[in-house]
């Protein structure tokens, strides 16, 4: 958000003509896209408010070709933006106008499913869901499930540290990746982790996960597989106030439950979803919770009984347990269609992503309502309540002059609110281009300085995805918003983290 995109476009880099000649000699003809028409599909990722054409698009078919592309780019000083399926929501794969858009979509082989060690080893272009499909014959699956899981690729999941409904219990991508192979900017192949529990040396495995294509190019991923739970059961609870729903979430977690999913929708989101998919949600409720438990049959039956009791004690006006698998899937269908459903309420919507300590849920939701009114833009809330990961959806009209700018301004305020209560500006979407200014609020100057030093230990010439994720100090100075660690709270009703 913040300053409009054109001011953000980096200055021209390197010798593209020489690079193109070099790549033509190295790669098959169809592996290079140079015409505007061919490059058009790559002008943006899931954050479609931001678009720009790449200098050229490279579609390598194997690691050796990726290595050659990186070496040529390094030699000619041309930036490289790596892209998976392009479903990212923070603009991490937004092309560089003077650079190479490196698509890994053709590196899409499943290399191994190992049922004894419960791991899958795949190329970065493999779709998230395809891993679970390949593991299914062994009764195993890959837990992290972004809502884009049919389309998104594992390489992109790793680059952005993607999450999903089940991350409350099973963790983010970083908690489910056990091994990586990546190419340095010099084209050196580095192997991290593997099938064993601990790794000596510095933990580059977690460092590369979520590094948004700025430290290296991931060419192989080994992930943990989990046994499919014997049974899953979901409870829907309705509340007459968002605060009560927020408090119920805290109580469920504090009671020791780690639900497979614990999702919350506020009234605008409930109405939109019900209107769209007709799943029988209570449209009068101020908020609903969907709480799913998974595990063995007895474990789930026992847990569901306890959770129902907890919800009623917390003042739920209605508690409904799915009576069969069909009803369970219907309850989730409403939640899963919430984004498109809310999208029908306005020409455009902006999906935010921030995380807060659970205890602040109720206060933060109230404050978001106030910010929404101040900016004159409606906001619907659909989110992973169990892990405090908010997804406010801001409704706007891109064709109305100033609407996008006000949306970006409101979005920025919401992210800063997350930081002020001790949370962060991301939950599962990454920083990319979208939240780069809010990084100035999240981190202090010496922290950003350390990030840049680290980045230069991998990429001395800033060739890998330059200008993303970690702002320069100059940019923060220009943005002018204060870092708030230990700062004073503008909202006295919010407890300091």
């Amino acid at each position: 958000m913040g300053t409009p995109l054109q001011e953000r476009t980096p200055a021209p880099h390197g010798n593209q003509a020489a690079l193109l000649a070099a790549l033509r000699a190295l790669l098959p003809r169809e592996a290079l896209l140079v015409s505007e028409e061919d490059k058009r599909p790559y002008e943006c990722d899931g954050l479609s408010a931001y678009r720009r054409l790449p200098g050229l698009v490279a579609l390598p078919e194997n690691i050796e070709q990726v290595r050659q592309i990186l070496r040529a780019c390094r030699e000619h000083g041309v930036p490289v933006v790596t892209r998976g399926a392009g479903t990212g929501l923070s603009g991490g794969a937004l092309p560089h106008p003077e650079g190479v858009l490196l698509s890994l979509s053709k590196l899409a082989r499943i290399l191994e499913i190992d049922p004894v060690n419960r791991t899958a080893t795949v190329e970065p272009g493999v779709r998230n869901l395809a891993i679970s499909e390949a593991a299914a014959p062994h009764g195993l699956y890959y837990a992290p499930d972004p809502s884009s899981q049919i389309a998104c690729s594992i390489g992109g999941n790793v680059a952005e540290n993607a999450g999903g409904v089940h991350c409350l219990k099973y963790g983010l991508t970083v908690h489910n990746v056990v091994g990586l192979k990546f190419l340095t900017v010099d084209g050196e192949l580095i192997t991290l982790g593997g099938k064993a529990l601990d790794i000596p040396g510095y933990d580059l495995l977690a460092l590369l996960t979520g590094s948004e294509g700025m430290l290296g190019v991931i060419v192989e991923v080994t992930v943990k597989l989990l046994p499919k739970p014997e049974r899953a059961q979901v409870v829907l609870a309705a509340f007459d106030s968002v605060e009560k729903a927020g408090d119920a979430v805290a109580v469920i977690i504090a009671s020791g439950f780690i639900p497979g999913g614990l999702e919350m929708m506020d009234n605008p989101a409930i109405r939109a979803a019900e209107d769209y998919v007709k799943v029988g949600y209570p449209v009068e409720a101020a908020a609903i919770l969907l709480c799913e438990l998974d595990g063995t049959d007895v474990e789930v039956s026992d847990g569901i009984a306890r959770v129902r009791e907890l919800l009623l004690n917390q003042g739920a006006t209605e508690v409904r347990t799915a009576k069969d698998e069909a009803e369970r899937l219907r309850m989730w269908a409403g939640r899963k269609s919430a984004f498109p459903a809310v999208g029908r309420l306005a020409p455009d919507y902006y999906c935010m992503d921030g995380t807060i300590p659970r205890k602040h849920l109720a206060t933060v939701l109230r404050r978001i309502g106030e910010l929404s009114r101040e900016h004159g833009l409606p906001v619907a809330n659909v989110f992973h309540a169990g892990d405090g990961n908010l997804h406010p959806l801001i409704l706007y009209d891109a064709n109305k002059p100033g609407d996008l700018e006000r949306t970006e301004e409101l979005g920025g305020r919401i992210l800063e609110l997350c930081v002020e209560v001790g949370g962060t500006i991301t939950g599962e979407h990454g920083v990319g281009m979208e939240k780069i200014n809010q990084m100035c609020v999240q981190f202090a100057q010496e922290e950003l300085t350390q990030f840049h030093a680290l980045r230069h230990a991998f990429d001395p010439d800033d060739i890998l995805n330059p200008g993303k994720a970690v702002p320069t100090l100059a940019r923060c100075a220009e943005f002018g918003r204060m870092h708030v660690h230990g700062g004073k709270l503008p909202f006295p009703d919010l407890e300091r983290f």
Copy 2:
């Protein structure tokens, strides 16, 4: 292991006289130890085979004093070795003879127990067990439980990424730390993570965890707390062959169980433990498994029944379920006393630590037996079977000329065997001084080069714990053992990872 210690002592560094004068001006008199007598207790950590006196010992009482010590050391070019409780088993806190031994034992305050977010924020000198004791009134505890948990401090746990019996289900330290504050070599305070799920920017939280004091000095730690399981129950199974026990482990895990603990002892370990604590272990068995399940009452009862059946199907000669809490604790007492028990069989013993993919358990145990005979040194095996973390105990006599060298040689061979089957040279003890040569086997030249580049992004002058954990390329050349990624296997019976 490898070359004797004296050859390893780094060359003199910096201006110690000037540093001492500077520190005297900055710190209270009792915060500096300079006499040989006062420094003697700091000459080694848990790896007592290696000892050397530090140049001087500093005992700061707060973050500001740590900051001043670091700035003075940087200014005068004097190395700093940070130490927690000194229980580490890989020599990570072995002093530098020309440097400052920085003890954080006085930074031992519990700053916050937050039951709603289920976190504890503590200073690095707080003992591992003290965190669980402080959280107990809320029904919470801190999961990672190194066997030294009564004495070891959380700062050291983070620096070495410590593990424990419960890591199979609850993960290593890195999976349980949610926030860190550390001082850079320049004395800048950097805050990482916090109570929210995801963190924008590079994942320095995991990078610092396990970095063995070489990237910064950790001054505050926020860890995840878990609800105490309602019930824990253990099953003991005896087998007439180590292979059958190893296969049973693989089957239990493949069946989807994630036991709270899944431990294995071979016959020498069983006999030693039984002889020492008389808990009623079957002393004729070739191997025993201890499998503990925890969770809700129904969940545990259901699981125990299934596990018993699995173990019998896998050919267990006896399966015994603890009939009450007293018997459960007795069964564990044998396992927990196994190291000292085995220690009674010889004047000295060397506790190894490596990790392998579970499917190779049986083969690797057989191969360790062969190596033991080749080197003429008895080896007892007591280990975390569920996560493939081996702890072979080599029995030797330090007073017998050549015995320590042969022990180090055998230990080195065992670690290299772990790498050859796709495992690693650490499970939970870190690399430190002990395994630095094996790092040459674990990693390729370009990987070590990247480690050094990363290290210099934090510590350009190699002042923080120099000479530990990551070997120089020169050292590897001198050590002369080959890195084996994709290399040829010396043991044709071992499947390539």
